[in-house]
């Protein structure tokens, strides 16, 4: 069975947030702060309001009150304070998009500007240790004595890596279409990775009871975390619609998305590793320095994968955060694991070279019996299997580790390896399954952001019901459906799937209908370390003339429990790896130190991989059984594909050139700087 919504997607009939046919719709366009810090002195909408077709100007001088406990990133127009350049300070509503956008440019905003600080550094005086890191993990962990471990090491590395600001850049811009009915009930078509949570946030922000709000997101054009939390367009559309008494649509521009829809924090990561004469780690320390806004503390869990990966008797991980005059960073595909594993897996490669060990072998030797930090047993762990299988498929045994010696014409060739990991979690969910005309209807407020949730849930239900998956219809993406958690944290299938299985089991007993709520089941989960693992192998070609880097092969081998749908799973892995390739070689948002905010706010300047970059990407997986996770035995696969890719490519660049570049992205400029 192909993707169940495939036909509507290839015929252009799938409706994304801004595409629902609504009569009499008005258009809103946001006005953004042009200072990085300070206060709005005055907003003058006169010139905008004079333009024909303009319906309203919203700003701190003319906005309805929002709830006092609203998320500061969503508390539009409630304060005169400007926390970052690009923050929404006003908006225009008009009959057409063209009029709204032109009028927005005519809104005059005067500011009192203060000096700003937008630069992250590892010695910033404002650095502090957050209490917890995303989602709710300890900021700091320590086991054993790292200094002692390093002191007794045969070989050690002490290396610092940097990753830049990265933007999710889903293809569908953040958009919302809001309308109020005569009973004061709000309907928002939103770009959302989770309509249940989105409804709660919108209701809370507007001070409404949740049942008065309905959020619909039938199709979502990618999110990668940036649509996992409610974004200001939903609130703005609701406010504007209430103000003008018409449905209001807002589609953020690509440029605006860079400012107000979240991003991955830049990181500075110091990794210290020691290894004894047998190639066993004596110490592992991983410290991450990162930023958040002055509005909200978002502390990415960057060093947490080091709590999971390798057996080290001395293990310390920590995070330091500084609050800058920047937008609040947020989730981007594999927050924590993605940047953290770039540093750890690059450092492991450096250690392998320092110790004269094969990088696969070093990892195998340090594969732990139990989760290193917690001591908990793993539900399953097949990193070694992934490394071995990948090494075999990649022809790793023929690799000469000597860097900088393989050449085809001007092209230097190298290979590299890195491990992948991602936690396997699940959240409580509800689901209902009913019979309908001899078929089955599964309903829950899940989201399909491109993962194929409908298809996967149909397969899961069909497996329990003992019918062909084509006979199961899945309805999701509507907050009026049974509550469900987000498509995020690689938890969707595990969370929703558990509820669907239980609902189907109930239906088998009942004959007509099954309802499930997995809250109690999940509470009873045993304490185990639950993670998916993988290994990625990269071959790169580096031009000695131009410094250009091309990935001539990228292979991922994953151990991620039972794969529910092989086609969809492969697509997810390939997609994650492709995004990881972008992170390695091209993706970077530049922070404007002089004026605040970001530069390169479009897709001509922020390069994501194009078709020509990702020609040789392969993903396979091990047959992994793990019955202690959920009824499907599945692990989440949406994020692990991006974890480790950048390190594998960076390690291959070292193998090709003999040089370590410890700052992403690895560009021709950096390669050329190596050879004056």
């Amino acid at each position: 069975m192909n993707r169940t919504e495939g036909r509507v997607k290839v015929t252009g009939l799938a409706t994304y947030a801004a595409e629902y046919p609504v009569e009499n719709v008005a258009y809103a366009y946001a006005v953004q702060a042009q200072i990085a810090k300070g206060r709005v002195k005055r907003v003058d909408g006169t010139a905008a309001l004079e333009q024909p077709g303009v319906l309203a100007v919203l700003s701190c001088e003319a906005a309805p009150r929002l709830s006092g406990d609203a998320d500061p990133e969503l508390a539009l127009f409630q304060s005169r304070e400007v926390a970052y350049r690009g923050q929404i300070v006003a908006a225009v509503v008009a009959d057409t998009y063209e009029i709204a956008r032109a009028a927005a440019a005519a809104v005059r905003v005067d500011y009192d500007a203060d000096d700003h600080d937008v630069r992250l550094s590892a010695d910033h005086p404002g650095l502090y240790q957050p209490e917890t890191v995303n989602p709710d993990l300890p900021s700091e962990t320590q086991k054993g004595d790292v200094e002692e471990g390093l002191a007794r090491a045969e070989r050690s590395v002490d290396v610092t890596y940097r990753t830049p600001v990265l933007h999710n850049n889903p293809m569908e811009p953040h958009a919302a279409l809001a309308s109020w009915d005569t009973e004061g009930r709000l309907l928002v078509y939103d770009t959302s990775q989770g309509v249940t949570a989105s409804r709660a946030t919108i209701a809370q922000t507007l001070g409404l009871p949740p049942e008065q709000v309905r959020v619909v997101a039938r199709h979502v054009g990618g999110g990668f975390g940036s649509k996992g939390t409610t974004r200001p367009q939903a609130i703005l559309a609701a406010l504007a619609s209430r103000m003008v008494g018409r449905p209001v649509k807002i589609v953020l521009t690509r440029q605006q998305m860079f400012d107000v829809t979240g991003y991955r924090t830049p990181t500075i990561q110091r990794v210290r590793l020691g290894v004894d004469a047998e190639g066993r780690l004596t110490a592992l320390e991983h410290m991450a320095y990162e930023q958040s806004s002055t509005l909200v503390e978002f502390a990415e869990q960057t060093s947490t994968p080091s709590r999971v990966m390798y057996a080290a008797p001395a293990l310390r991980t920590g995070h330091r955060l500084v609050r800058l005059d920047v937008a609040t960073p947020s989730w981007m595909r594999a927050p924590g694991e993605c940047p953290g594993m770039y540093a750890l897996e690059s450092a492991m490669d450096e250690l392998a070279y320092a110790a004269g060990l094969d990088p696969v072998e070093l990892r195998v030797r340090n594969d732990p019996e139990t989760e290193p930090d917690s001591g908990l047993p793993f539900s399953s762990r097949n990193l070694v299997g992934c490394l071995r299988e990948g090494a075999h498929r990649f022809g790793w045994e023929h690799r000469d580790p000597t860097p900088g010696i393989r050449r085809e014409g001007e092209w230097l060739i190298g290979t590299g390896v890195a491990a992948s990991t991602y936690p396997t979690r699940r959240w409580p969910s509800q689901a209902v399954v009913t019979t309908r005309d001899g078929d089955f209807l599964v309903q829950l407020a899940a989201a399909d952001i491109g993962t194929g949730a409908r298809t996967v849930l149909a397969r899961i239900a069909a497996g329990v019901l003992g019918v062909a998956p084509e006979r199961v219809h899945v309805e999701l993406g509507d907050s009026d459906l049974p509550q469900a958690p987000l498509a995020g944290g690689s938890m969707g299938t595990a969370s929703w799937g558990t509820a669907v299985v239980r609902a189907c089991e109930e239906l088998m007993r009942d004959g007509k209908e099954g309802r499930a709520d997995t809250t109690e089941e999940i509470k009873a989960d045993a304490k185990l370390a639950r993670h998916a693992f993988g290994a990625q192998f990269a071959q790169v070609r580096v031009s000695s003339v131009t410094g250009e880097i091309r990935v001539s092969r990228l292979l991922g081998v994953f151990a991620a429990g039972r794969i529910v749908d092989a086609t969809l799973a492969r697509s997810q892995f390939l997609g994650g790896m492709t995004m990881g390739l972008g992170m390695a070689l091209m993706e970077e948002t530049v922070t404007d130190e002089e004026f605040g905010g970001f530069l390169h706010r479009d897709l001509a300047q922020y390069h994501v991989p194009a078709c020509a970059d990702a020609q040789h990407v392969e993903a396979v997986w091990l047959d992994e059984r793990d019955d202690r996770l959920n009824p499907m035995g599945s692990k989440g696969i949406g994020e692990i594909g991006i974890v480790g890719t950048a390190a594998a490519i960076g390690n291959a660049v070292h193998h090709a050139t003999g040089h370590r570049i410890r700052e992403l992205p690895i560009t021709p400029a950096k390669i050329l700087a190596l050879r004056p």
């Binding site: 799938a14 998009y97 969809l568 697509s571 390939l574 995004m579 020509a612 990702a614």
Partner: protein, 162 residues
Amino acid sequence: MNITLQVNGVPRTVDVDPRISLLDLLRERLGLIGAKKGCDHGQCGACTVLIDGRRANACLALAVAVDGSEVTTVEGLAADGELHPLQSAFMEHDAFQCGYCTPGQLCSAAGMLGEPGPSAVTGDILVDPDLTPEEISERMSGNLCRCGAYVNIVSAIGEVAR
């Protein structure tokens, strides 16, 4: 201004603001949501349609400037309910995930298959090359896919190109 376009074979006369793009005209005035707005600057290809048979970014075309043209959107690729071979191949090869870039990929591929001549990766510029995966990848690089479905997109198009 009044303009008339043949949209998917149907003549449409509309009174437009000269500022409106062909993309916004299709999406906001004509109810054709297939062409997508991804960047509004010709940098992502999600809005690709065929204008007089050639693939083009609908976001960069002022509607007034294409007055009189024939425009084919993804909604017009399928003839009489019969999917275009590219549409079927995209489904069979799982050549999309979120689906947002897909209409642009499809229109772009449809246009690309009819484009003669070499590309930036063609060896002998005097010879019109076979559409190898490398050629397809280069020719389709104006259509970004953040889900990273490229490998499947190329195999889907390759099947139709054969």
